[in-house]
Symmetry: C2
Subunit: 384 residues, 2 copies
């Protein structure tokens, strides 16, 4: 399970003292090869944390030997000193692994704007190196949790004879409180960095990129894909893409269910779009409507709030040809009221909102959650 | 006070039975001239309510004799039948005023997706016509309230010898629950429709357009400016612009303070922008961050959430040159931590967040509120 399900990977999760209370807060994942091929996708936020700036450089060469991840501090908005801290973290990992820092990726999550306690973090890296094992995947997943109530792990065995494993943290595309989603995917298939890059962009485009719990974009989001090639199996790209997408979808679903304060998992299916872009844009607009998210929390099938969100976009549609179904009941037809809204059963945790733009044949599904008083509470009490 | 402060206007507010409980729910404002020059700005939502589609047509000719406004129903997403209802409302007002419907504007606010009860609304129009008076401005302002806890009215006397009055409803640029801001401004100055149009666009651009309580855009937003010319004073455009902007700013402030569930009035001042557009875009991104709005609710001067919101925009800036002050304390300097955040007094209701993009000399202020459990409660319980 987790990142150590595939051959060629060891991992550890230790308590370095970055978080109060003695929980695990530092993870180390090592790729023992023979291959070190890797790819990464990072936040599109222009305010990027130091570990994002560092790991983007590392990934440019397409090779990763190890990943150091910490919770208890995002190391974002910490200036050049913060960047030095990340560099030093990579150097420390390189030291204990007998390698160069150029192939060590670093990920951090926690509060923005505070330096990391390097006097505790660096010994933590050494301690993690001492505990590396083939069974360490769960401990590593546990160490990157922030407000996550559970560790998120997944794996798939591909028919081609290799495995894809993964771990993630965060309560949405961006964890509402800690503003970060981190994810590491591993495989023991053999693949070139360029292939891994295509595979990862496809997989994240259909999964994590379509998860939007609160519309905020993190400074630290990082998703890495590492291939050890330990099985000696050369992956068929389509099969690897399917397996990695599957693992990402599994982890994305876990993030969604664990989103802070959420009581509903909402799927916004946009159909009848002129193109994929329109479908995603319309779905995202609906997913970002606080009004709609409050209504769903109140089990109110308020389709007017769906239409008013779609109406803010440039997607191709005619207002009087929009149709909306909530949990299968077409409550809005041709831009006006349709079937009786009292027929909608809003009690299940899963709510599906189908928006038919009547403008083509393309579709996309965006996942979000309801907006609750608990979300407000968690995020207003966070750093105090 | 209100829309009847200027000469040449009569108004009334009556209970037509659109709302339960016998509150006022229908307003009529009549311009007795001699001029009927008028201008309007409307929601940019592509899903427009029937009264918006109607009133946009009316305003194209630049003349308005009367405005019928109702709460208790938005008449949005009601198809061609809904448009007929609006048309019939205008015809009824024209009838009782002995005029043509072509110069009758109509505004509605309330739940989307339901037909208005025309059997009560039309007699209400007749009743309102019977109660029209020079003192009716406050009753009219009262009749358009939805979740507004108070009627919102304002007026200014211009040095040029004329008056500008106004009324508004809504709890933000878009009332969170009822998704509508309605506003009527009147003046007894004399001005061409083209002048009024420029004046109104300038005034709303600097006031209502910079108010953003929940990022949602209404299907019904309407702001009208009517000039009776009853003083015979030909308005100097600059002076009229200043007076109308003043009245709009006053009303916008009242909307902000009354926003649903809000406990804080947050001003986001963006300075050092390369141009006005960048300043507005950056300010709006901050105003729409649920995470930041929760933090302010918790009296947490969380500048990291300000930076991560600014980082999602295309505004010109370098991340390591961003500065942020909260209530006057520069907690972020050069993209990193600055003065001690414990120095920030977060207790006052008014919170000012200053964002210095260090990229130029332009500035803009966006107004928003905090995100609270009460907001969630009001908007999850609304139509149930």
């Amino acid at each position: 399970m987790s990142v150590t399900a595939p051959l060629g990977f060891r991992a550890a999760g230790v308590a370095a003292g970055l978080k109060d209370g003695g929980q695990r807060d530092l993870a180390l994942i090592v790729n023992d090869g023979p291959s070190r091929a890797a790819a990464g996708v990072f936040t599109r936020n222009r305010v990027k944390a130091a570990p994002v700036l560092w790991s983007e450089q590392v990934l440019r060469a397409g090779r990763v030997h190890a990943v150091v991840l910490n919770s208890g501090g995002a190391n974002a908005c910490t200036g050049s000193d913060g960047f030095q801290d990340t560099h030093q973290t990579a150097e420390k990992a390189a030291d204990v692994l007998g390698d160069s820092a150029a192939e060590i990726a670093v990920c951090s999550t926690g509060l923005i704007g505070e330096r990391l306690p390097m006097d505790r973090l660096l010994p933590g890296v050494a301690a993690a190196a001492g505990e590396l094992s083939r069974d360490g995947g769960l401990a590593a997943a546990d160490a990157i949790r922030t407000t996550d109530t559970v560790a998120k792990i997944a794996f798939r065995r591909a028919a081609g004879g290799y495995t894809v494993g993964g771990m993630a943290k965060g309560a949405g595309m961006l964890a509402p409180a800690l503003a970060t989603m981190l994810c590491v995917i591993t495989t023991d298939a053999e693949a070139e960095p360029e292939t891994l890059d295509r595979v990862l962009r496809h997989a994240t485009g259909l999964t994590f990129d379509r998860l939007d719990t609160d519309g905020c974009m993190s400074t630290n989001d990082t998703v890495l894909l590492l291939a050890s090639g330990a099985t000696g199996v050369r992956a068929d790209e389509a099969e690897l893409t399917a397996a990695v997408t599957d693992v990402c979808a599994d982890l994305a679903r876990q993030l969604l269910i664990d989103a802070e304060g959420a009581t509903k998992a909402i799927a916004i299916e946009v159909v009848g779009a002129a193109n994929d872009h329109d479908a995603v844009v319309a779905g995202r607009a609906v997913a970002r409507s606080n009004l709609l998210k409050c209504a769903i929390h109140g089990e109110d099938p308020n389709w007017g709030r769906v239409l008013s969100a779609v109406g803010t976009t440039e997607a191709v549609f005619e207002p009087d040809r929009l149709n909306v179904a909530i949990n299968g009941v077409w409550v809005c037809r041709n831009g006006s009221f349709g079937d009786d809204r009292s027929k909608v059963d809003m009690r299940p945790r899963d709510v599906t909102i189908t928006v038919d733009l009547s403008a083509g044949t393309h579709s996309a599904t965006i996942h979000t959650t309801d907006l609750t008083a608990d979300y407000v509470h968690e995020n207003s009490a966070y750093s105090s």
